[in-house]
């Protein structure tokens, strides 16, 4: 049993438009490499960056003031054979992420697994709210 609902068709059309504007090929090519995702909790920040095929020694992470700078080089792995298809991109990269608050310099943890770089940062003590005693 099916009851025609005019709104269903309207939503379908809406989805079509949403898809057209929202569907992106995985990651936005216009952004600086590497594409990142930032999770921000009350006292910690987790950053995921997609860096497939890059070795740890070719990635450099620096903390400059309250900016996190990810730089490095993605070296090509081309072999000396005729290529049918070349879609992957290579080269040097540098990306600066402004952090929402100051972080502990000595508690930064970065892991690289399966081409995903995960950076864990925790909030610095002096960035936390402090209650001031009134005499």
């Amino acid at each position: 049993m099916y009851t025609y609902n005019m709104f269903n068709d309207m939503i379908k059309l809406r989805t079509l438009f949403d898809d057209f504007f929202d569907t992106k090929p995985g990651y936005e090519a216009s952004r600086e490499f590497p594409p990142v995702q930032i999770h921000e909790g009350d006292d910690r920040i987790i950053i995921h960056a997609l860096v497939p095929g890059i070795k740890t020694e070719n990635i450099d992470i620096q903390l400059v003031d309250d900016n996190l700078v990810i730089s490095g080089e993605k070296k090509d792995d081309y072999e000396n054979h005729p290529y049918i298809r070349k879609e992957r991109l290579f080269g040097e990269f540098k990306k600066t992420i402004r952090l929402p608050y100051r972080v502990k310099h000595d508690e930064i943890k970065a892991d690289l697994a399966n081409g995903v770089l995960t950076i864990n940062l925790s909030k610095s003590e002096d960035a936390k709210p402090k209650k001031i005693e009134i005499n």
């Binding site: 939503i11 990651y27 999770h39 497939p52 992957r88 399966n114 995903v116």
Partner: protein, 124 residues
């Protein structure tokens, strides 16, 4: 209001696939296919060859937690890509290697299409 909730439900039900970027070269012996699949582990990767199609599909292992997500330039998507393969590929001999987000597939060419040296007999 109504459309907001509706569109959210639709997005949740839809499976979105991302096409991994690929480099392909061929030699006299093999075809090499290199794909970028960041966040994929061996366990959730599937490579299937059926008829004339080579299908690579994978699920990303990054935990998708909408909680605390403040900014995203990529979304956790599953990967899927299909290539057509000709009769020159030996279906029973495909090697796959996954290393740091890069999947390398080596498709061996079948014996019939490999170059063969033809011996010339000296006839006087």
């Amino acid at each position: 209001m109504m459309t907001e909730t509706n569109s959210k439900n639709i997005t949740e039900n839809r499976k979105v696939f991302h096409t991994p970027l690929a480099d392909i070269y061929s030699t006299e012996e093999i075809y090499s296919v290199k794909l970028e699949v960041p966040g994929v582990t061996k366990e959730n990767l599937n490579v299937v060859i059926e008829d004339d199609e080579l299908k690579i599909s994978a699920e990303s292992s990054i935990e998708e937690s909408e909680k605390d997500l403040k900014y995203a330039e990529f979304s956790i998507k599953n990967f899927s890509r299909t290539f057509r393969v000709g009769n020159d590929v030996d279906r029973s001999k495909i090697d796959a290697k996954l290393d740091n987000g890069i999947l390398t597939l080596i498709l061996h060419k079948s014996e019939e299409v490999k170059p063969k040296k033809i011996a010339i007999n000296q006839v006087n």
